[in-house]
Amino acid sequence: MPDRTLLLLCAIFAAAVAVSFVMPSWAVFLTTIAVAKALVVLGLMILWRTGLVSFGQALYFGAGGYAAGLAGRWLGLTDAIALCLLGAIAAALIAWVVGLLLARYREIFFAMLSLAFSMILYGVLVKSEALGSTDGINIASATFLGYAPSGPAQVVSVYLLTVLAGLIAASVVHVFLQSTIGQLTAPIRDNEIRVEYLGVSARAVVHLEVVIAGALAGAGGVLTALAVGHIDPEMAYWTTSGGFVFVTILAGTGSVIAPFLGSLLFEMVRSFAMAYAPETWQLMLGAALLVTILFFPGGLWSLFERRRARA
């Protein structure tokens, strides 16, 4: 029997492609940013299920963005797919190194250590003239396997690549979470002693999860950079990490679809709040999070789970 989640993901992808021809450009851009950032949240979701909160995903998000920016500037690489892969690999490598230490820690120590690593990258970016310092770097228009769109076609092309990346990432993460190693998230959160006495290294699994989350965040960073056309140290700042945690809480961790739903809602609330209440938009976001925590402690996805449980 076909997997319902994979079928739903394919249906959402088809719908996302179809509406791209009728959506206004601001909506295309907003959705691109939301889906790109949802990739980061997808990685956070895996860690969250394991009982780990990372306040440092901006490290990999920024690393991905800068890998794409520097590859364009220094190597003249403009192919969006190659940049995506490069960003994901660069971020995964950093995550692998950082993960050697991170995987030893749990709870608040994991959260604070991940934050510390991201702030190191932020400090390096801010102080390095070669990396654009606080001004950042402009990203050249991307090409797509030799196709070089311009104007609105460029925006739509980045959008289509982003939703395709979202489909692939969500499908891969879903399959991972259904595997034996993916199903170890709750056991590691619950009882590492039993996991060890079943013959599996909880630390190795956490390390793997850090790398997967890093790669996803790196790809998200590249896609965001391509959509915005600019990168700056803000990408690696702790408030960016906080935003990803915010969306994880808002979305819930019950399904790989949840991060996309949460991220889309977050970007919409933020955009409209900034447009209509530029002085108080953070207040409105805070209120939205408060409502979520009070009424949907399992995140927005819990609404669907409750409905399914009642059915």
Binding site: V175, Q178, S179, T180, I181, G182, Q183, L184, A186, P187, R189, D190, N191, I193, R194, E196, Y197, L198, G199, V200, S201
Partner: protein, 262 residues
């Protein structure tokens, strides 16, 4: 019969406290070994040392002639030495069936075994069959956190032996369980484990249970073995009566009085 487990001059100290000293034991394959002793006598320390939870200060541990003294719990488990715990170690926020399926999924051999889907029909059926064998199938959809203590103990043991080990160490499998349930649980556990041809080491305070199920008994006192032999011999040994059985009787009497008072 060749020993499956050999312990040579094992010792463990925590600062100035000696938790285990000069323990030398050889366990033949297929034997059911009861471990008795008063609280603090070193029984659980002995189990923890064999299964890698603690590292010995002195001595060596051989499993099937391979030195496992310095191996991690994970490595020891993979070699075929599994254990259950005095406080059952299960995954409380998932169902009993998922607990069992995860234990079985990890136990699968072959390249990429951990990457295969956990909830395959075959694995779910196998997990269900094990729950039947341990007579806890009625609880298969319940969260492990909601289980009665006896069921949780059985689940802990069933998960421990999912990897089809060659030796299993049970740390007080009947502690915290009513007298009526104790025998029921031991019948289920020992029956299932013996049917698999496992070597069993179990720590137990109830001498009747030890007498009924053990082929051989090790009596611990003050961190070392003071008697080793068949149950009827060890349980009637003067030192054992003085330091172990007497203590246990006093404890049982105290518990009985407390229960009556309550």
């Amino acid at each position: 019969m060749a020993p499956i487990l050999e312990v040579h001059e094992l010792g463990k100290t925590f600062g100035s406290i000696t938790a285990a000293r000069d323990i030398t034991v050889a366990v033949p394959a297929g034997q059911t070994l009861g471990i008795i002793g008063a609280n603090g006598a070193g029984k659980t320390t002995f189990v923890n040392l064999i299964t890698g939870y603690l590292k010995p200060s002195t001595g060596r541990i051989l499993f099937e002639r391979r030195d496992i003294t310095d191996l991690s719990p994970r490595e020891i488990t993979r070699l075929g030495v599994c254990r259950s715990f005095q406080v059952p170690q299960v995954f409380p926020t998932i169902s009993v069936l998922d607990n069992m399926a995860i234990a079985l999924g990890i136990a699968r051999r072959g390249a990429g075994a951990l990457w295969r889907p956990l909830r395959s029909r075959r694995l779910v059926e196998d997990a269900g069959a094990i729950l039947e064998r341990y007579r806890i199938a009625d609880y298969r959809d319940a969260l492990a956190s909601t289980l009665p203590q006896g069921v949780r103990k059985l689940l802990d043991i069933a998960m421990a032996v999912a990897a089809e080990p060659r030796i299993v160490l049970l740390d007080e499998p009947t502690s915290g369980i009513s007298v009526e349930e104790k025998y029921e649980i031991m019948e289920v556990v020992v029956g299932a484990l013996r049917a698999s041809g496992l070597t069993i080491l179990f720590v137990e305070h109830d001498m009747e249970i030890v007498e009924r199920y053990a082929d051989r008994v090790l009596a611990f006192y003050d961190g070392t073995v003071i008697a080793d032999g068949p149950p009827d011999e060890v349980l009637h040994d003067e030192k054992v009566k003085q330091f172990v059985v007497g203590e246990t009787l006093h404890r049982t009497a105290r518990q009985g009085a407390a229960a009556a008072h309550a």
